[in-house]
């Protein structure tokens, strides 16, 4: 009890009791004096009080004074003790600077990376989107074949759904194509922004509030005209928060500024900025209203606010029923429905969850590692603590000193960790894929850093203080009596340290296994045979004056002239019009072709195919081999019979077992205003090799049409013998020469274009590998630490064995055997854990099994190799022991 009482001696003395005692002494002495003078007790007491004055007032004065005084004193004393403890801790640090620097850096890395990652995770996935009740908003579309790529909801039908629905309170529509880059002129500055088109009610259905200005309103739909460009009036445009910050410098004077789209010469007015964290469809940088004149022709996602009590499933069922009734010929197979939250965040959840888990593991390893270091220190300071106790240091004092030391390490680690977190977050945001949602919203909040630091502090306390306490609690003299020969590490503590290292090895194995799987998946994706040759391939996008070049045939004719001119540039080996750059996604220019001798109902169930349109050099430029038939020629123009080339998969699906050459297809419902040739029959003249022109992961069955018999919208693919950068001046001149109003917009190499679908896998693989390597490094340091301690403790034994003639190899083997046990158990446990958890990676892996033996074994081999090096160094040291010296050591 006594030490405890002493430890708590800084409890404030009882001020009131002391004041009362002092005053009572005075009064009683005075009473005694009066009694000696002959007064009776009651008289004496009264006289003493009179003589004293008002006891209550004096008592109150003294109490106030003493309490204040006591507070000041104890504060001073606490400061003093704290300084003392800190001085002791600093002295300790100075005695073992390597250990403390290591502990601090390890903690900082663990805290910093995990805090940054937790922060991104929290901002992107956990925090609510800037809409009202994101789980009551549902995104839906109907499909006839593939639920993920096939969007057949018309906006015209949505008006009926809006009228009849009982499950949905309000419905908006979003044009189904992904947010794709579109050029603008801002004054005299060209700026490229990702477009999305929505009905004016979109923001109201979401319940989003503007960051600046106003958002779109239903009245914006009602702007006249049947297609954009018809009206001389300026149209409303809402910028995304991120685009506003990054492309307009966060300037609040953008409201009211005009942007001109040069292709169609439409004038837009920026009316507002959307709230941070809102970018739907993914990557959207601005929203424009879907004009009422357009609404009937555009396929769209329905974005609906559920009525009170209605479920997502009920809304889906009702929606599908109404759509089926309105469009029986489409033979809808089903409807896709997901809440707004799932829709926006669904794609990034796996990779972010994975990275966050990896960071948590890293933090765990960091804690185990620091714990190991501190355990080692606890054992070496058993004697120091015993001496301090023997010299009269109280148990409480030692506790305080240890806690101060542990907290100092944790605090230093956390402070450094904060810096790491800031840097890591900046890197993450800078290198994250552009379409990762809500990055404009990521700020470093205190909470994640606090949590990570608290975890680290707990670990430090647990490993740093607890074992030291066990030592300090024991009999004061016991450790002093310990002969140095007995070794400073007790067997039990050594076992704990070995288990800690094995645990680190296991966790590192899990992380390395995951990283190896992702790296292999990335390699597969990068080596993915796209079916075209991406080297020396670029795509340039031109714009023109849409007031003069105002019909499809004129645009196509312009494209034709432009391609000829570009083809003449020295260094260009092939050039062709394309309708869109590769990797644009499957929902772009998807057409449900009809084939001959097919009823309308059957035709409506045909699959949708992506469509590409080009010139005679289309296949030469892309490097796509033709399997059969011929390529397009100069003669395939508007006056010639319409032709088409299909990919192998299209041929298989439309004419199974038959020769596709000579078969005929058409675009039902097309008009000559929209596409040259309209809905006329097009004869298949060739079959092309399958390509991944639209998405990297999957082959895109494609129908190719000659530009001069279809459409063009500004893109030219170029195969060149020189780098794109060297061609740029010539490409600009080429445009101006064809037409003074033609300008080169966005030239991009194929490598740039391919970087986009690879960005997320690259980030995942890069981060998990670096986390995995960091984990491996930490685990190796941990192993090195215990092996070094082991060798040191057994120096004498080894010395004797060597003196008695043992071969150095034997001694080395004894050490390595111990290391092998630790590493083996850790690696085996880690391998099992990796196998058990890698299924969670499934969604991120591309053509790699979660149990891929090559990846897991490679990770395991790396772990064992590094562990061998970490164990070999102390083992070699063991054989260098000089027998004579060790024997003389004590």
């Amino acid at each position: 009890m006594r030490p405890v009482r002493r430890a708590w001696a800084f409890w404030r003395p009882d001020v009131a009791a002391e004041v009362d005692e002092e005053l009572a002494f005075h009064l009683e002495a005075r009473v005694a004096e009066y009694e000696r003078q002959g007064l009776t007790r009651p008289d004496a007491e009264r006289a003493a009080r009179e003589r004293f004055g008002d006891v209550a007032v004096v008592r109150h004065q003294l109490l106030t004074h003493d309490a204040a005084h006591e507070r000041r004193r104890s504060r001073r004393e606490h400061m003093h003790r704290l300084l003392h403890d800190v001085r002791l801790a600093v002295r300790g640090f100075r005695r073992a600077p390597g250990l403390f620097a290591t502990a601090m850096v390890i903690l900082a890395l663990g805290i910093g990376t995990s805090a940054a990652m937790f922060d991104v995770f929290r901002t992107v996935l956990v925090r609510r989107l800037p809409v009202v009740d994101q789980d009551r908003v549902v995104v839906m579309w109907t499909y006839a074949s593939d639920p993920t790529t096939d969007v057949v909801t018309g906006t015209k039908e949505l008006a009926v759904v809006r009228r009849e629905s009982r499950t949905m309170r309000a419905i908006a529509a979003v044009a189904h194509w992904p947010a794709t880059a579109s050029p603008f002129v801002d004054g005299d500055r060209p700026v490229e922004l990702n477009r999305s088109m929505v009905t004016g009610s979109f923001f109201a259905v979401l319940g989003a509030r503007p960051a600046l200005g106003r958002l779109l309103a239903p009245s914006d739909d009602e702007a006249d005209g049947t297609s954009p460009g018809d009206s001389p009036k300026s149209r409303a445009l809402v910028l995304s928060y991120r685009a506003w910050r990054e492309k307009f410098g966060g300037d609040s004077s953008v409201i009211g500024r005009h942007l001109v789209e040069p292709l169609l010469h439409i004038d837009y007015t920026i009316v507002g900025v959307a709230p941070p964290g809102l970018a739907y469809p993914a990557g959207a940088e601005y929203w424009i209203p879907m004009w009422s004149g357009w609404q009937s022709t555009v396929s769209a996602f329905a974005v609906a606010r559920l009525a009170p009590g209605a479920t997502v499933d009920a809304a889906r069922a009702e929606y599908l029923a109404i759509e089926r009734r309105l469009t029986p010929r489409l033979a809808l197979r089903g409807a896709h429905a997901a809440t707004f939250g799932e829709t926006v965040l669904g794609d990034v959840r796996p990779v972010l969850a994975l990275l966050t888990a990896a960071c948590a593991l890293l933090l765990a390893i960091a804690c185990l590692n620091v714990g190991n270091l501190l355990l080692l220190r606890a054992s070496t300071r058993a004697r120091e603590l015993a001496v301090r106790r023997a010299l009269g240091a109280g148990f409480g004092g030692i506790v305080r000193a240890l806690v101060a030391e542990a907290l100092a390490i944790a605090a230093a680690g956390a402070a450094l960790g904060l810096a790491v977190a800031v840097a890591a977050r900046r890197l993450l945001v800078a290198y994250a894929p552009a379409k990762l949602p809500r990055l404009d919203d990521v700020r470093l909040a205190g909470a994640p850093v606090g949590v990570a630091a608290a975890v680290a502090a707990l670990a430090v306390l647990l490993f740093g203080v607890a074992p030291a306490l066990l030592v300090a609690r024991g009999h004061v003299a016991a450790p002093l009596r310990l002969d140095a020969r007995a070794g400073s590490e007790t067997a039990r503590r050594r076992r704990v340290r070995h288990v800690l290292v094995a645990a680190q090895m296991a966790l590192a194995m899990v992380m390395l296994g995951g990283a190896a799987l992702l790296a292999r998946s990335l390699a597969r994706l990068q080596r993915q045979d796209t079916g075209f040759v991406s080297e020396h391939l670029s795509v340039a996008w031109y714009s023109w004056n849409a007031r003069q070049v105002d019909s499809v045939s004129r645009v196509v004719a312009l494209g034709d002239r432009l391609v000829r001119r570009v083809r003449a540039i020295p260094g260009v080996t092939a050039a062709t019009q394309v309708v869109a750059p590769p990797m644009i996604g499957t929902s772009f220019w998807q057409v449900r072709f009809a084939i001959e001798r097919q009823s309308a109902a059957d035709a409506a169930t045909n699959p949708l195919f992506s469509t590409e349109m080009g010139g005679p050099e289309l296949f030469a430029t892309l490097g796509v081999p033709l399997v059969r038939g011929r390529a397009f020629t100069e003669r395939d123009d508007a006056s010639a019979p319409l032709v088409a080339i299909v990919s192998e998969a299209v041929a298989r699906q439309l004419w199974p077992g038959r020769d596709p050459i000579g078969q005929r297809i058409r675009v039902p419902g097309a008009t000559t205003d929209g596409i040259i040739g309209g809905d006329g029959w097009r004869t298949v003249v060739g079959v092309a090799h399958e390509t991944h022109l639209r998405t990297l992961r999957e082959a895109s069955p494609m129908v190719f049409l000659p530009s001069r018999q279809s459409y063009w919208q500004g893109s030219i693919a170029i195969r060149s013998a020189v780098p794109l950068a060297a061609l740029l001046p010539a490409l600009r001149t080429a445009g101006r020469e064809v037409d003074p109003d033609v300008a080169l917009w966005t030239p991009r190499t194929m490598d740039d274009i391919l970087a986009e679908p690879l960005a997320q896998p690259r980030l995942g693989a890069l981060l998990t590998s670096s986390f995995g390597l960091a984990a491996l490094g930490l685990a190796a340091i941990g192993l090195f630490g215990v092996m070094a301690a082991l060798v040191r403790d057994r120096t004498r034994e080894f010395g004797i064995r060597l003196a008695l003639g043992a071969a150095p190899g034997h001694v080395r083997l004894a050490v390595l055997r111990q290391a092998a046990a630790i590493v083996g158990i850790g690696a085996a446990a880690g391998l099992l854990a990796a196998l058990a958890t890698s299924r969670l990676l499934g969604a991120l892996l591309f053509e790699v099994s979660p149990a891929d033996p090559l990846a897991l074994l490679a990770a395991c081999a790396l772990l064992l190799a590094v562990a061998l090096v970490a164990a070999l160094l102390p083992a070699r040291h063991a054989t260098r022991v000089d027998p004579a010296r060790t024997l003389r050591a004590d």
């Binding site: 002391e18 005075h26 005075r30 004065q61």
Partner: protein, 114 residues
């Protein structure tokens, strides 16, 4: 013993306390008794005001205090004058004596009132 014989000024009481402590450490009651005796009961201090004065002197660093045992074996707080306290007393005593002398001289000049 009339109440008109001297409500002491605040600062004056401090000087008396310091003077009382010159003889050695003393508790509050002892100080009161010493002042009483030394002044032949002419200077009557209100004993209660003694303690706030002692706290004030302690704050200034002129006295220190510690618990000890009294003559009849009871716990009492003893006050001790510090070196700073002695120096202060010397200074203040000089001022006081010159002041008292001057007032006495004035009162003694003719026509005498006493």
């Amino acid at each position: 013993m009339g109440s008109d014989t001297g409500d002491l000024l605040q600062g004056t009481l401090g000087i008396l306390v310091l003077k009382a402590l010159l003889a050695g450490p003393e508790h509050g009651y002892g100080i009161a008794r010493w002042v009483e005796t030394a002044a032949d009961d002419v200077l009557r201090i209100e004993e209660g005001s003694l303690y706030p004065t002692l706290r004030r002197l302690q704050e200034r660093g002129w006295v220190t205090s510690a618990w000890g045992l009294s003559e009849n074996n009871r716990r009492a707080r003893y006050y001790t004058i510090t070196a700073a306290g002695r120096a202060h007393l010397r200074g203040q005593a000089g001022v006081w004596l010159r002041y008292a002398e001057a007032v006495t001289r004035v009162l003694r000049t003719a026509p005498a009132v006493v």
